[in-house]
């Protein structure tokens, strides 16, 4: 499966006309509520994924009970729900009809989920499963994924996947600018060695050159119909790497030459996903990359305190994609730091859809857009349940956060590529 186009329907009830689903017959179903009555929100996504992965049909009821799922009623699914601790309410045909009536009359929609996306996570081979929020969420929900890294991307391996996640990779090739701050730490030495070896093996002169090629590979993957979801510093640095084609933006420690003093002026923002007009951080000792990030967590006096971000409301019937991405049982969510925590509004390209922002602040948290035949979503911050995440912190145990509204946003992204293509009405 490649990306299915999310072409917007212009009136309510279109879906039923084009895609009669199993639910329209009066067979019993299982309703997976996603409001406060759900006993494990995160595992509910895994349950829905496994249902469609088994070739069964499911529906995502946008804005209905917090973004509920409607699944066929089968013994195996009940068993899975019971083992996962997911609340699943049996509903008969009459109740399903009533639900559909409610959806019809309100800002809600029912989106068919038809095929489980093949998920890839871009991470070094030695990365622990607990290194990033998405792998933790996938593991916890029980959604299978494949780890890939630079060799796979450079050799075109991305074409085998529908959905790609990036987390804290520094695509500028500067090892998150920890090189000087964490000098001598074994984990950093390993990271440097591993990247340098890979660059050499793949025929690149420097690690920054390798990462630019990888960024370009990911860009082309999206342009050809892939789904990209990035968090933390991968959001900012992939755009910087794409804009810096042919420009040296890496400090001496990364490639042996200093950053081009005129780099700012030479950046080509037409090549990027989300950002434009940013200024690079020239100081190699400051672990921040540019003025894209609003919070500047490692930039001393420029560091901003954490607030809370608010999810936008979209029209479910007209804008199903952003609606899917913001399905949650909470509208306002406490913010959390990452190397890149947020995105300064003034640095966003025109046409980027803002999914969440902090009211009154000059930054946004969660953005989405199209590129070619594909789509991308950027979510700032490192771990929604570890707001001050520090290197060396213990991993987050998601069984203690089964209702995490921040992690739900991640899982919305995993599931939305499963949604069925719609035809344009006109």
């Amino acid at each position: 499966m490649r990306r299915r186009d999310f072409v917007r329907v212009t009136s309510a009830g279109m879906m039923g006309a084009f895609f009669p689903s199993f639910h329209h017959s009066l067979v019993p179903s299982l309703l997976i509520p996603m409001d406060d009555s759900q006993s494990d929100h995160l595992k509910a996504y895994g349950l829905a994924y496994r249902v469609i992965d088994a070739g069964l049909k499911a529906e995502w009821l946008l804005n209905y009970q917090g973004g509920a799922f409607l699944l066929p009623d089968a013994e195996s699914i009940r068993r899975d729900a019971a083992l996962s601790g997911v609340r699943a309410d049996p509903v008969d045909g009459g109740r399903v009809t009533a639900i559909r009536g409610e959806i019809e009359a309100n800002n809600m929609d029912a989106v068919p989920l038809e095929k489980a996306p093949k998920v890839a996570v871009y991470a070094p081979p030695n990365a622990a499963p607990w290194d990033d929020a998405v792998t933790m969420a996938l593991q916890y929900a029980g959604i299978p994924f494949t780890k890939i890294w630079d060799p796979e991307v450079v050799s075109g391996g991305l074409k085998d996947f529908d959905w790609l996640h990036l987390h804290h990779e520094d695509f500028t090739g500067q090892y998150s600018k920890f090189f000087l701050i964490y000098s001598g730490m074994p984990w950093l030495a390993d990271m440097v060695q591993r990247n340098a070896d890979t660059a050499r093996r793949l025929g690149f002169a420097t690690v920054p050159d390798l990462k630019k090629a990888v960024a370009r590979g990911i860009h082309d993957y999206v342009a050809n119909g892939g789904f990209l979801f990035a968090m933390c510093t991968a959001t900012e640095t992939i755009d910087l790497a794409l804009a810096a084609h042919g420009v040296d933006i890496a400090a001496t420690f990364a490639d042996g030459t200093p950053m081009d003093p005129q780099a700012d002026a030479k950046l080509d923002w037409s090549q990027t996903f989300a950002f434009t007009g940013a200024h690079l951080e020239p100081n190699p000792l400051v672990a921040t990359f540019s003025d894209i990030d609003g919070h500047q967590v490692n930039a001393g006096p420029r560091r901003q305190p954490l607030g809370a971000f608010k999810l936008f409301n979209f029209s479910a019937k007209i804008d199903p994609v952003p609606t899917m991405l913001v399905q949650d049982h909470r509208q306002v969510i406490p913010d959390f730091y990452g190397l890149t925590t947020s995105f300064v509004r003034a640095r966003l390209k025109p046409g980027v859809t803002v999914l969440a922002d902090e009211e009154g602040a000059p930054w946004v948290k969660y953005v989405h857009g199209d590129l070619g035949k594909g789509t991308w979503t950027f979510f700032g911050g490192h771990d929604p349940e570890d707001p001050q995440h520090q290197i060396g912190d213990p991993p987050t145990d998601l069984s203690l956060h089964p209702h995490s509204p921040g992690y739900r946003l991640i899982l919305n992204n995993v599931l939305f590529p499963a949604a069925k293509k719609r035809e344009l009405k006109t």
């Binding site: 083992l83 916890y140 001598g184 003093p261 420029r302 213990p394 069984s399």
Partner: protein
Amino acid sequence: MVMAAPAFGQAIGQGFELERGGRYADAAAVYLTTLRSDPANLPALLGLERVLPILSRLPELLPLVQRARAAVPENGTLRALELRVYAQMNEPDSLEAAARRWAAVAPRSDAPYREWALALADRRMFDDARRVLLLGRRTLGGGTTVLAIESAELEQRVENWEGAAREWGHVVALAADMIPQASSQLSDTPAPQRARVVAALSPPDAAPRTQRLAAELLLGWGQAAEGWRLFEQSLGAPSAETATALRRFADLAGAVATPAGHRVRGLALARWADLVPSPLAERARAEAVRELLDGGDRAGARAALERLAADSLAPADAKAMAEAALLEVLIADGQLDAAERRLAAAGVALGGDDRAGLRLQLARARVTRGELDRAAKLLSGDSSVAALAEQGWIALYRGDLRGATEAFRAAGPYAGERAAATERTAMLALVQQVPADSLPALGAALLTLARGDSAGAVTALRRVAANLEPGGGRSDVLLLAGQLAARLGGAPNEATAIAVFDEIVRAGGSGAAPPAAELEWARVLVRQGRAAEAVQRLEHLILSYPGSAFIPEARRDLERARGVIPKS
């Protein structure tokens, strides 16, 4: 109308604000404007030092600094700034020339060498920085103590912890008040290098203060006993410094929450008590006794107690504390008759709470010897909830299930520590499943357990269960036997546990025992590395007993067995 020019302070403040906001070029303009009217304005020069490198305009700073330095040649801060600018511009020759010029005008100052070395170190030119510090040492002629702090910090920066320790050793040998700083700096030594750091600070000819530094480090790294050994060796004749060092060591040991930490704190306090006047000494000795007991050093505690008992000047509260501690020692040593006599004789010398607590301890000690009547007699006049709870246990061990139930209910859920209350509640739940007022065999089996014979208790409990009806507490008694066997560990015990859990699960029923047994069973399987079988058990539990209170725990264990959540 012409606006008045802002005062210097206001103008430079504006520069700071711009800098904070990331507007470096604008901030630089403000600083440059300030310098035009006040060429030696230090905040403006330092501001430019911060912002010009970001703007790739550092060379602009040099002439400004040189002009300021020429205007105020005796200003060390400006001299240091000049060195840093040369270093940042990667001009080591000019840096050296400037530093030597400064040294020439201040021949007895270590500042030129310190700032020169720091400027080089900031450029990661660590070997050159080390050479400069040695040059300063030679030139100033003060031996290893000159520029020792700077040398220590430099070695630490290059991860040469052993070298840093040696330098700090030079520093503290001269100045005892530098030990806290040295200790704080060296406390970050990575674990693999700690032994070498300690060795560097404690050669045979080490100065006592240097040894003391090593002792503090060991203490901070959790090696309390080793630290104390080294510290004790460093103690010389009684002096104010010795007393201060002992007090500090005792305070530091207070942060080490291990038995060894308590013991070392007790030893240090006891030694300190010898050096300070009354009543400070007696109070310290009493506290030392408590710490030594907490550290399991009963011999040491006794020695301290004897000193205290012989001290006619000791205040009443210290004596009471000592008496209570002595009784605890006697009970722990098994001298129950002596303890009972002493407790009776102590009378009002002990506080009411202390007396009650000691009586309870004595009663428990009697119970563990199987002397139930003597234990009951000790508590006969006590109506506190703690005593009621203990009376419940005594009734239970006698097989008096009804009496035990009534006493546990009367004691309520809050007597004693939380673990004791939980244990009592669990036992109450078990007893209530048995439809009899008296069952001496069960009491005897539980007494076997209370006396520390877990293996014997497993056998006895299984025997009791065999005589109970399936709905009459059989599964609950078996569950306790299985749990004990599982806790004992080892292949034969775990096999027994699994057989018992299997029997409970097969018997089924609506009580709490079957899901509890299945959960314990799965945990044994996980411990044995049989995760797949554990997963089967846990899935069976979750699906078979959806209303059980064990379900959340079972789900969590299931995730762990599947490797889905991190081990905590």
